[in-house]
Amino acid sequence: MTPTTSAAPPAPRTRTALHWIAVHTTAVAAALFFVLPFVFVLLTSVMSDAQAMSGELWPHEWRWSNYAEVFRTPGFLTWWRNSLLYAGLGTLLTVCSSVPVAYALAKFRFRGRRPALLLVVATMMLPPQVIVIPMYLVWAQQLHLSGSLWPLIVPLAFGDAYAVFLLRQFLLTIPREYLESAKVDGCGELRTLVRIVVPMAKPGIAAVALFQFFFCWNDYFGPQIYAAQNPGAWTLSYGLESFKSAHGVDWNLTMAATLLVMAPVVLVFFFAQKAFVEGVTLTGVKG
């Protein structure tokens, strides 16, 4: 803003206009920072091999066949299938096992409820590296299941701390009267949960399911521990890194693969935007 010591301060209308311009210029600058990486990745992904090595920014020809080539890369389709299996089955198991636990922690009165909740939070905060070694030894040496994704999927059938916590936060908002009137109507706790609580908690469940799906889809550490020895069990997130090494300086194919790994997450986001934002706000703002 210009110093206006002698002149009268600018009329409110001018000030508003200046403010509008300042805000929107900043927003455009910020948008460039967030969007340009996607743009450069996309542009490089359709370049020819030679051009991708050149450092030029705009493709001479748009070679969409790079994407077909990525799919023809040995293993790529298997990684897709594995990612879908891990994320899909993992999400289903997490939701089914976490809902009753969250319900009990939110609505039952029992001794030890607060300590139980603190333990859930503690597990949630725990770096996965802390307990991985003994777990790996059990899966690999006793159960002979390393080289597969089962060591990552099976534990999700026993409640996930993060899901339990988020669901509990959501269930707290369901008024007790609904549950009590269900009980007056002769519903047992299990029926109340299935008939009353789950339908009311749909937005919360959707948010938790999304988070879990993305967690599994994005997981790198888990597959690195349990699936590394067996390329047939790799997921996209794990395989992508080796894709780069296999293709050396072929940045075009690597960028196409990178976008293909991002695509499902972005698609899911556009279809479920509302549940998503709900979930992010759920994580802790409402105190």
């Binding site: 969007v35 939070v121 770096p127 991985v132 070694i133 003994p134 991002m262």
Partner: protein, 320 residues
Amino acid sequence: MATPLAHRPAPALRRRHTRERLRTLGFLSPWLIGFTVFFGYPLLATVYFSFMHYNQIQAPTFVGLRNWTYVLGRMPLFGPALWNTLWLVVVMVALRVVFGLGVGLLVTKVKAGAGFFRTAFYLPYLAPPVAATVAFVFLLNPGTGPVNEILGALGVPAPNWFNDPAWAKPSLVLLSLWGIGDLMVIFMAALLDVPREQYEAAELDGAGAFARFRYVTWPSITPVVMFAVVTGVVQTMQYYTQALVAGKLASGVSVGPGTVIQPGYPDGSTLTVPQLVYSLGFQNFDTGAACALSLVLFAVAMAVTSLLMRRRAGLLGAED
């Protein structure tokens, strides 16, 4: 339970109590089993192994405190790894919170194209970490990366980003700022929750933009800022995937299964404590040292978590 005889409840009531307790146990059972098997057991086993020499082939042998003195005293990589993790915890968390708050503020002010801006700022947060890291290693690669092409065209001296020990961690910070969407959303929600009347009252009292932020906005969003800081610290202590992938890819070493590479390229500048646990346990097969180091990480994580549990941080929410 040893209830005094006089207070013993009527049999019907007692039966109801037992039934309620069984019901609670039933609902909690998935987690009770999961917690015992996938948390309690491995934690105890980690403590056990931290006193053993165990190379995952021969049977473990007891070595007393040797792993502990090794990890805390003589292990050459522990110091750098701890330093890198602390550096990231301080710099990354601070910048993320400031930047996230800035973007959140911006989004509440934007009028034209608000939906577009919100989506554009949020989307990168969703990019899978490995994919985002691969993309950034490409964008910032010193040879042909678009960023350095542009900087070169503008005549700005271009750093070597992920290939320069002094720039590798700042590059990771840049990557983390790109994925600020989660913080933007919670800050946006908090900012929209500040009562409008307070701003109007402050304006009537002649408060400028800064004073309004300092005396109206800030006090009402402090809990959310606290939350962002503490969860940020917890996440950054686990910082693993991006550092590992960036280091591996930037080093150009081919990474098939079984390839052992020196972690933390370049020059150990991206080696974090969680990476060191992995490297000790799964590359050097030094189970004992890896377990001792994980317990150090555990202790720090728990200390931070206990901060988070304070009521001030507002994480647990109201009791029902």
